[in-house]
């Protein structure tokens, strides 16, 4: 029941929002639903979750973790969404019922609903459906500005992701085919859990084909190179709160699909194959993202490429069997990246440009934003005392234990390249004299309301770097057992 509420409530609210004429009420709805969702999530977490066999919709530790991430991100970016809508006030005719803003609100809530559904779905088909639905729900969010650039980004996002997800559908079919060979598994419900339990009797050739297709398919959505091409465009053109959600919540969902499929292959005894592919894609993503970070001129694109890099880390972690580190990293990355995109929105609001060259002296314009911007980048680069350091190190530790030196070398050199490229951009942005006193007026107060959600997210990452609370540690442990196919 609780689970149904979790994903149906946003849908209902979304539909309702179409019919609400007052922008104020509609905007408040986003915040209310997000926090309602967060509350439900926490209740579900607290009451415990029994993964049930054969169910299409269910909650195991893995989905609990991702649900938690998503819910926290939605809640913390809901303020920024409202602030964004308030700051980019549309003409009156676009604010009423069924107007552009109403559609945006509706799409936002649908996005929450579909993301939740994707996380909760244990059935391959439902999962696919939900993932495609997230694409569709988020497309209007990206195109909200209706500028030529945002439309272009939306088009690329929509087309490339749809193609990718269509490939994943083929993968689903192949997965279904692999069931049909052995009478023991014939007619098996296509849930990840059932498949994993009977993995040994599945047809390995079709299983391999299925994994290949699913990896490429969901990998497109997740942003693994070379299928990542939509990601920088969409992230840079979407409103910043939406970018935060795309990067922090959406990419993880796609990763969830790959992770669950990988678990099936590991159980089937062909984990070496799937792990190798994952590691290869991960390394490629990390290195490629590193190169693109190196001479980046747009700070939102910079963050987008950083997301690609971190998706690479997740893939490597999954491929190396470092599920614990990988999942911890997914958590840390989402929180950090959410904070960074929200801050990017604040910066964009203060400087009216996304160009890295045009922004300088942030720390003097707005000390809190500047400090958080620096802290966020330290976190995203895996510098202690932030949680990313711990998670990256534990991934590396597993690489070292497995003797995968080449992968480790690629990992470290990619991190190094990203670091060099990022700080070449971040230092002039955060420090120095403010660029144009006419454009950006120093804030009177050191900390603004807009800085609070990123501050909260950064504090969480900081906490995870110093002391990992035992409920979360336990959750991740359970989740990594599922992801590792145990």
């Amino acid at each position: 029941m609780m689970l149904r509420i979790l994903f149906l409530a946003p849908f209902a609210a979304g539909l309702a929002s179409l019919g609400i004429s007052s922008p104020r009420v509609r905007r408040r709805l986003i915040t209310i639903v997000s926090f309602f969702h967060l509350a439900c999530t926490l209740i579900v977490w607290r009451t415990g979750f029994e993964p049930s066999a054969g169910r299409w919709i269910g909650l195991d530790a893995l989905s609990m973790l991702f649900l938690l991430i998503t819910s926290v991100l939605f809640a913390s970016s809901s303020f920024a969404t409202v602030a964004y809508l308030r700051g980019h006030e549309l003409p009156v005719e676009s604010r009423g019922r069924f107007s552009r803003e109403a559609v945006f609100t509706c799409a936002m809530l649908f996005f929450l609903g579909t993301t939740t559904l994707a996380i909760l779905s244990l059935h391959t088909g439902v999962f696919w459906m939900a993932i495609e639905a997230t694409t569709l729900a988020s497309a209007p969010l990206i195109s909200y500005q209706r500028s030529s650039r945002s439309l272009e980004a939306t088009w690329k996002y929509l087309l490339i992701c749809s193609v990718g997800i269509a490939i994943a559908l083929v993968g689903n079919t192949a997965l279904a085919v692999s069931v049909a060979f052995d009478p023991a598994t014939y007619g098996l419900p296509m849930t990840f859990r059932d498949l994993a339990e009977r993995a040994v009797s599945l047809n390995p050739v079709w299983l391999k084909v299925a994994f290949a297709l699913i990896l490429v398919g969901y990998g497109t959505k997740m942003g693994l190179a070379p299928m990542h091409t939509w990601l920088p465009d969409a992230h840079s053109e979407a409103p910043s709160p939406v970018s935060a959600l795309l990067s922090g919540a959406l990419l993880n969902c796609a990763f969830l699909g790959i992770l669950r499929t990988n678990a099936i292959l590991v159980r089937a005894g062909i984990g070496g194959y799937s792990n190798g592919l994952l590691a290869a894609f991960g390394a490629l993503s990390m290195l490629l993202a590193g190169w693109f970070v190196l001479r980046q001129a747009d700070f939102k694109r910079l963050l987008a490429y950083s997301s690609i890099e971190h998706m690479g880390i997740l893939a490597i972690a999954a491929g190396a069997g470092a599920s614990f580190g990988g999942l911890l990293h997914a958590l840390n990355h989402s929180l950090t990246k959410g904070a960074l995109f929200l801050l990017a929105g604040t910066i964009l609001g203060a400087y009216h440009t996304k160009s890295t060259r045009a922004v300088s002296g942030l720390i003097r314009i707005s000390p809190a934003t500047g400090l958080l911007w620096i802290a966020g980048f330290l976190a995203i680069c895996g510098v202690p005392p932030f949680g990313t350091f711990v998670s990256e190190f534990s991934v590396m530790a597993v690489l070292g234990r497995g003797g995968r030196w080449w992968l480790l070398a690629a990992f470290l050199s990619a991190l190094g390249i990203v670091f060099v490229g990022m700080w070449r951009i971040v230092i002039p942005m955060a420090f120095g004299r403010p660029s144009d006193p006419a454009v950006c007026v120093p804030r009177s107060r050191p900390i603004e309301a807009a800085d609070v959600p990123p501050l909260a997210l950064c504090c969480m990452v900081l906490l995870f770097g110093i002391w990992l609370p035992s409920p979360i540690a336990r959750l991740i442990e359970h989740a990594s057992a599922i992801a590792g196919g145990l």
Binding site: H123, G125, V126, W128, M129, E132, A133, T135, L136, A139, P140, S143, R146, S147, S148, R149, L151, E152, A153, T154, W155, K156, L158, L159, S162, V163, A166, L169, V170, T173, A176, V177, A180, F181, M190, N203, V205, W206, V209, P232, D233, S236, E237, F292, Q296, R301
Partner: protein, 212 residues
């Protein structure tokens, strides 16, 4: 007998999609493709169809043969798009690629281990060809609308692949998939309209302001 002739017709339609130079003909082709694929699904189905299946198939047929093509034609008209396809790859080369894709699909369908109860490998082949046609249209045609059509063609191929391999998903999932495709193409159409308003053209080629 009937299924073989449908397969032959599908082949022809797919090859026409490779070679045609008109957008409206592409739309018609994709509608025909969808119709034929639905027919193929009916014909290759073993045993009698339940009423749910009938309903579902007819809804699919309606959506894919009528609703979506109509939507596209409307977008085509209201946006005032010229009817040339404006290829990146020439028609003759495209046709050859189509032939090669056909050969490859047949080879692959014969090669893959088929589960018990799977349909004729040619059905699998034709599904594969449809998918390849779709992707080819996305990669090699310049207009946004032809890319949307490519996406639809690809979905059509995938749609028939499952029954061809004797995979039958639960009805609600199939419906969800169909809904997704419908909404997807619908949103694509909407975006194309917006792009048209914003850019005065819908050449994807020129949609390259965002780059590094």
């Amino acid at each position: 007998m009937i299924d073989q002739s449908i397969i032959a017709l599908l082949l022809l339609v797919n090859l026409r999609m490779f070679a045609t130079s008109r957008v409206d003909s592409l739309v018609r082709c994709v509608a025909a493709q969808a119709f034929l694929l639905v027919c193929l699904a009916v014909v290759t189905h073993e045993g009698s169809l339940s009423w749910e299946a009938w309903t579902f198939l007819s809804v699919t047929g309606l959506v894919k043969c009528a609703a979506l093509p109509a939507l596209m034609t409307r977008a085509l008209r209201s946006a005032g798009i010229r009817r040339e396809v404006e290829p990146l790859v020439g028609y003759r080369v495209s046709l050859f690629i189509g032939l090669a894709a056909t050969g490859f699909s047949v080879w692959a369908a014969e090669k893959l281990p088929m589960p018990a109860g799977a349909a004729d490998p040619l059905v699998v082949a034709v599904a594969l060809i449809s998918m390849i046609t779709g992707i080819f249209l996305i990669v090699a045609r310049r207009k946004a609308i032809s890319q949307a059509i490519g996406y639809l063609a690809m979905e059509n191929g995938i749609y028939v692949l499952a029954p061809a391999l004797a995979v039958h998903g639960p009805l609600i999932v199939e419906t969800g998939v169909l809904l997704d495709v419908f909404v997807g193409v619908f949103i694509m159409g909407v975006i194309i309209l917006h792009i048209r308003q914003e850019f005065r053209h819908i050449d994807i080629d020129r949609l390259s302001e965002l780059k590094d």
